[in-house]
Symmetry: C2
Subunit: 364 residues, 2 copies
């Protein structure tokens, strides 16, 4: 399997959807497999908020990808057949231009000088990458979570440039519970004195704020049902306990703490703030005046929409809304509700349930 | 209607369930209505985590109570018929002995010197109050939320002292999602430098931590469905906006902020920590070895259990668990699921749905 890791740099001033300009921004993208002679077998994957472009491993980069079991030879998104492209989002911090990057204008990190980010900006960079590679029409655009919102933006902005669309655990727009959650995560970061209005040394910054934001995130990425099964009321062994009477007591507390530790340092806090806010601001209704009109711009030959009823962050009625709107406009939609107990993260965790419909979608 | 506000002081050393002793602790309780000659018409109400003993208004204290529409003359818990008693929980800060009180031993506020609080300690003080008034058997014990866990503890500890039991939006024990949430709320308070290991001036302390804990609480006290209806994607008018690009943008953010401001200063942070942890530690299984055995100690003539499917914090399967366990032991149980969209707080908000079953329970 061929693999490549590339940097695409936009030539000139990139105008951001909500105002402001980036001079010659770059994005990192990786590819797996081979582009067919007709350039008709490409699959473009937009990521959720935190992943890099490394969706799956390759001999040249054996580190497991964030969707390792879904993408690769003989896997549901089969890299023997498809040329898979995954981009690190504009605004992120794994090689692409974002608030943590050095501005070519000032010679300093952008920090809060980075313009307001929209998911449409990420979608546009995806489109630029395809143009750069020489792909006029992809076989499929794929997006889970925030990536699914970016994929909808892409589909509404560039009709005719994709054959199929796969939207997973996503929404046509952010609703108040998700907005409140992300707002609180951002507040946790911004209230950390080490955030310092976004001005902190690279790799440092609001560690505590990021840990707390991640803990809060984990509470909505998984589900109560999963935790009941995994942890119940199991206690931390006394030798692992420390501190005052209010320190951790239950295994679920220890689990959240471990996840928070793992995340911190990997992700730049300012990038997190920008991507988080971009998710809140996204509303497909901006592409035509209403959710229906925005989704009406999508012209995929076939769309699959997958949802999970235990998802708190992107509740299943939001996937139904997308599927129903597309169906009512005569689109060919396969709506799939999966009985996973892993909540929003099910697409990353419950592979036994997610593999079959996605394999079916790509085998057809 | 007769009304009284009283302080009961326990005579001597009060042994706490999880170790430690309080010297002559007091609780504040209020009463409405008149005790019958046979002393058989009393209703004892245990509160959720944050309310005072003031469950409803009275001419002598016209401030609206925390369950104003439920308790009073001609209301579902009718004070013309019943003698209603509501106690401010031991460990709280509205007149009862708690971490914010001055210890008679040291002459200083207890702070973290307060022993670990159990809901059973609150139940025992309730029992002492009844003994003090001269009531051997109440007509009903009532508890919503944390108060419902206290009511179960009371019922398991003092069989034969109550006729009926009304449990609302509560659980036989805390499960991991609720534990994780409360743990995070406590961490937000404890990480505030102004908490200072529980040593802060009265009325001051970790304001920011309390605000953040309250915001997080509100996210699980209400429901996503309610917020979709109330706020949708409504924005804050530009004249009310302030600060950097990450300040509040959506009405739901402003709503949470207003709630956080209202709560802060009302409730003592250390008391909050103790009551929050007591909720995590509660497990009816401690009263007999299993949830079933613990609930098996309850000998009410009639029990009503009310749940709301939109409740994230005390999910409806936990109310079903209580009802099923009691039924399987031959108890007379009326299990009521109410289609409220206000989540855990429905019993405080959706009075039109809650009044009828509670009226039925008390009219019978």
């Amino acid at each position: 399997m061929k693999f490549s890791r590339n940097t695409f740099t936009y030539d000139g001033s990139f105008e951001m959807r909500r105002g402001g300009v980036l001079e010659s921004p770059s994005v990192v993208y990786e590819t797996w497999g081979e582009l067919s002679a007709d350039a008709d077998n490409a699959v473009l994957i937009f990521t959720g908020l935190s992943p890099s472009a490394h969706v799956t491993s390759a001999p040249e980069d054996p580190a497991p990808g964030w969707w390792e079991e879904m993408v690769g030879p003989s896997r549901p998104i089969d890299t023997r057949r498809y040329f898979v492209i995954c981009m690190n989002s504009l605004g992120s911090c794994f090689g692409s231009t974002g608030p943590a990057s050095v501005s070519p204008v000032t010679g300093e990190p952008y920090g809060l000088g980075f313009p307001v980010l929209a998911l449409e900006d990420i979608a546009e960079m995806g489109h630029q990458v395809l143009k750069h590679i020489g792909i006029k029409r992809v076989a499929a655009v794929v997006g889970p979570s925030m990536g699914g919102m970016t994929a909808q933006a892409y589909a509404a902005m560039y009709p005719g440039t994709y054959e199929r669309l796969l939207l997973i655990s996503t929404a046509a727009r952010a609703l108040p519970f998700a907005i409140a959650l992300r707002s609180m995560q951002r507040e946790l970061i911004r209230r950390d004195p080490d955030w310092n209005q976004g001005d902190y040394p690279p790799g440092a910054g609001p560690i505590t704020g990021m840990r707390m934001a991640r803990k809060l995130g984990m509470m909505t990425y998984r589900s109560a049902a999963e935790w009941d099964q995994r942890f119940g009321r199991e206690r931390i062994p006394s030798e692992r306990k420390s501190g005052d009477g209010f320190a951790m007591d239950f295994e679920v507390e220890s689990y959240l703490d471990a996840h928070a530790n793992k995340f911190t340092g990997q992700f730049d806090p300012n990038c997190y703030l920008y991507l988080s806010r971009a998710s809140d601001l996204f509303d497909i209704a901006e592409h035509g005046g209403s959710v229906e009109a925005g989704l009406g711009r999508i012209d995929a030959d076939k769309t699959m929409v997958i949802g999970v009823p235990t998802d708190l962050l992107f509740p299943v009625h939001q996937q139904r809304e997308i599927a129903d709107a597309l169906k009512s406009q005569g689109c060919d939609v396969d709506y799939v509700e999966l009985d996973s107990i892993n909540g929003h993260d099910s697409f990353l965790v419950d592979m036994d349930r997610f593999r079959p419909p996605i394999k079916r979608f790509f085998d057809e």
